[in-house]
Structure formats: C-alpha cells, structure tokens
Symmetry: C2
Subunit: 239 residues, 2 copies
DNA sequence: CAACAGAAACATGTCATACAGGTTTTTGAG
DNA sequence: CTCAAAAACCTGTATGACATGTTTCTGTTG
C-alpha cells in the first residue's frame, strides 16, 4: 500500500472526492471498458484507508452520474455512456431559471441541423426506416398528444443515432427531458388540426430527405421545423 | 407528514433514488434559486422516514452532479449551473473508448461555428476585448505550450460566453477537459514555428471578425481553425 | 442600551458495527 | 461428472457515536 498522499494534501477536499478520483483513476489506469467490474467497496476501503461510508458515498456519486452501474449483491461495473447526468444538469438549469427553454431550443437547432445532415449522409437503411417509422407513427396517433410527443422525441433521437456520432446522441437525448415538459405547450398553440398536420408533414419531409440522402434539403426542413417550434413556444409566452 | 407513497411503489428503485427525487422535487416545488438553502439531512431523514445514511448518499449524489453545494457545518444550497457532471460524462466516454476525440471535435466544430457567429452579433465591447486578449496572450506565451493551451481554452470559452446562451457555455466548457488531454498532441504535430504561428494567427482572425461584428467571416475562420486542428490530430494518429 | 465573548444548538464529516437480502463460489453428496 | 445445498462475498439500510464547523442565543460588560 502506498501513502495515498495524505499529509501533503493542503486543506482537505474531503475524503469522498478523493475516493471518487481514486475510482475514476482506477478505471483509467486499468483501461476498463463498459461492463467491466470495479473493486468491491471493502477492497476500496482497505486501499484508501477510509471507512466504508466514504467509499460508498463515492460509488453512489459515480452511480448518480451514471458512470458506473450498481446493483445489490453484485460488484459495481463500468457503465455504458448514458445521458442521465446531463439531463439532470439541464433540467436543474431550467427549474432554477438559470437557462430558458428558448435557449435550449437554440442549442437543439444548432445541433440538429448538423445531425440531420450527417444522418442523410451516413444513415443505414434500417436507420432511415426507423426515422420514417417514427414520423408515420406521429401521424397515426395524432389524436393523443402525449403519444405524438413520444414519437417526436424518438424521431429526433433516431436522427441523432443515424449521425453515427454518440456525442450528438448524448446531447440530443439529454434535451429530451426538457422537451417532455414543454412539448405540449407548443402543440396546443397550434390551434387548428391543419397546423398540427402541417407540423407532422414537416417531420415526414425531413425523413424523406434523409432517405434520399440529401443533407442540404434535410437541414433546410429541420431549420424550418425548429423555427416554427420556437415561434409556437414564444407565442405561448415561454420566455 | 404524508404517506410519501410507500406501499404502491412497485418493485424498489432503491431508497436513495427516491430521496434524490424528493430533493430535486423540493427544489422544483419550492421554486428555489441558486444559493437558496435546502432542508438539513435530519429534516429530510424525518420527512422521508429513512436513515441518515440514505439521505446523505442522496445529497452527496446531487453534490457530485453539482446540482447542490455542500460544506461542513452549513446546510446544502442550490448550486449555480456548473459543468462538472457533463465534463465527467464526456471524459468517461473517452477513457472507456465509447467515444473518440475526433467525434468530440466534430461536435465542438458544430457548436462553435454557432457560438462564434452569435458572439459576433451579440458580444459586448468587454467580451470582444476579452476574446482578443486571450488571442494576444497566446502569441505572447508561445514558448510554453501549456500556457498557450490555457489561453486557447479561455479563448473558446470566452466566445461561448459572448454568445449569451449559457447552454452553449456549458457544453463548450464541458469539452475543455478533453481538450486539455489532446491539445498538446495537435501542437506537436505542427512541427514548424511557422505552423504554430499560423495557428495563432487563425485565432486572431476570429477575434477580429467578432470585433467587427461579422458573423459570416467569424464562422469561416472558425471552420478553418477546426479543420486544421482535426487534421493535426488525425496526422498524429488520434482515431 | 449596545457590543461582544462564550456557550449552546445545530449542521455536516467520518467511523464502527450490525444485519437483511442478493450473488457468486465452494463444497459435498449422489 | 452433475447438481443442489452451503458458505463466502457483496451491496442496501439502520443506528449510534464523536469530531469539527457554523449559527444562534445569552449573559455580561462597557
């Protein structure tokens, strides 16, 4: 066992932070991949010379950020990339009014203009089909707003997935939580059935452009879609 | 005290998750803003009818995500928007090889093409000065790569700040950690001093375009900058 | 009455221990 | 060799204790 830098530690960033660092460092230095098991709490307790309380709080923190998976009886494992933490940060920003819904939509627009273009260029046939399927389901379920919304969200996430860049997927998915809280507002603002169908048509246009492999057209439709969505939100008074 | 939905809880997502939800719910329902104090652990213990262990792990988890601030003796407070959690997620993705540096750069390029345009349109004079200052410092300290890097990072974060959309700042800042780990590689690939100075010149061009308030020119220079950076990384063998 | 120092009350940080389940490994009977 | 029971190991939760940091109260003093 090494001294784990105890005396030269300046003030005291807290034992838990130290433990968190030790665990992430372990993942790094051992070159662990998603699914690989981590040391048990008892092992960490011995290695760091701290109580299980501290080690547990560290594991739990990493679990909250979805960097590791925990479950009773099993050792913790390295987690697959997940959106949980980012979602919570964004939602925290919204609920504490540090960011506005409109600002989130501006970022979404920026990102999805790109994902849609990439999707048009790189989508597999299966991905193109999945995107088209979501658009179709939106039309078919247009009686139930919540169902439309879920298909809408799935639509955008499917496009992000088809960009073949998981970082885009991560961000787009992180925004889905915010979308779930504001989507209905925009839907209600589209007073007439005609407006609502026009909005669904917009999704189909995007899906078609992706199927055709035309990135410029796809981006154009996506821009239009977002401009209308933001306008709907503004009309509804979402600052 | 209410029953806090104990029996109808289905399987059992764990008491800690429940406590986390209760705390975030508290923030939401009380409309708390950054800096406002949360209930003490003892109060939460009573309210949720669980042990302090559970409540503490919940608080600690939220603290790890930087949704709340904790410090000894004081009650926890609602935290200002912070990049901590997002950084960790991105770095986790990189170290576990679930995402590549190049993919991160592609996202950065997408986002910063937008932040730079917004900055050109919305920057205050002070922000324009700060951006130009960072570029100048890059040139002045070009002997010390690490110093250049820090000014480079500050440059990009300053542009994001000048976009006046904190969500962009959040994302750009979250990527800074990755940049710190790969920047030097790109720098070394620019073998000659001339190449290095050309790269610094690129930053000055961006700063000038922002100062002039020309979003198209600014975006053009930014695109060029990223294309060269990515090329440098690819040349260095970063997949 | 006001100011201030010290005590008390309160809060978090860490530790030790205990026990209830869940999971993996070992063992032993067939 | 197979397979089921037992043992060993692991995480989830609860309780109590104490150190240390922060706020609040209080009584004394100027």
């Amino acid at each position: 066992m090494q001294e784990h830098t105890d005396p030269p530690d300046g003030p005291s960033p807290g034992l838990v932070s130290t433990a968190i660092q030790a665990i992430t460092q372990h993942i790094r230095s051992e070159g662990l991949a998603a699914g690989d098991p981590l040391p048990s709490e008892a092992a960490m307790t011995r290695q760091l010379n701290v109580s299980r309380t501290v080690v547990r709080e560290a594991f739990r923190s990493l679990s909250a950020m979805r960097l590791i998976d925990m479950s009773a009886g099993r050792r913790a494992t390295v987690a697959k990339l997940d959106t949980g933490a980012m979602s919570m940060v964004i939602e925290h920003g919204i609920t504490t009014q540090q960011i506005s819904v409109q600002q989130v939509y501006d970022v979404r627009r920026t990102i999805e203009m790109r994902t849609v273009a990439l999707a048009a260029l790189r989508r597999t046939n299966a991905e193109a089909a999945a995107i088209a399927q979501s658009a179709r389901l939106m039309r078919e379920s247009c009686k139930s707003p919540e169902t439309v919304m879920e298909h809408d969200i799935a639509f955008h996430e499917a496009i992000a997935a088809a960009s073949h860049n998981p970082v885009f997927s991560l961000i787009v998915t992180a925004f889905s939580g915010v979308t779930r809280r504001t989507w209905v507002i925009g839907w209600r603002t589209r007073s007439s059935d005609e407006d609502q169908l026009k909005m669904i048509k917009g999704h189909e246009d995007i899906a078609d452009a992706i199927l055709k492999g035309d990135p410029r057209l796809a981006a154009e439709h996506m821009a239009e879609h977002f401009d209308k969505s933001v306008k709907a939100l503004i009309d509804a008074g979402i600052a």
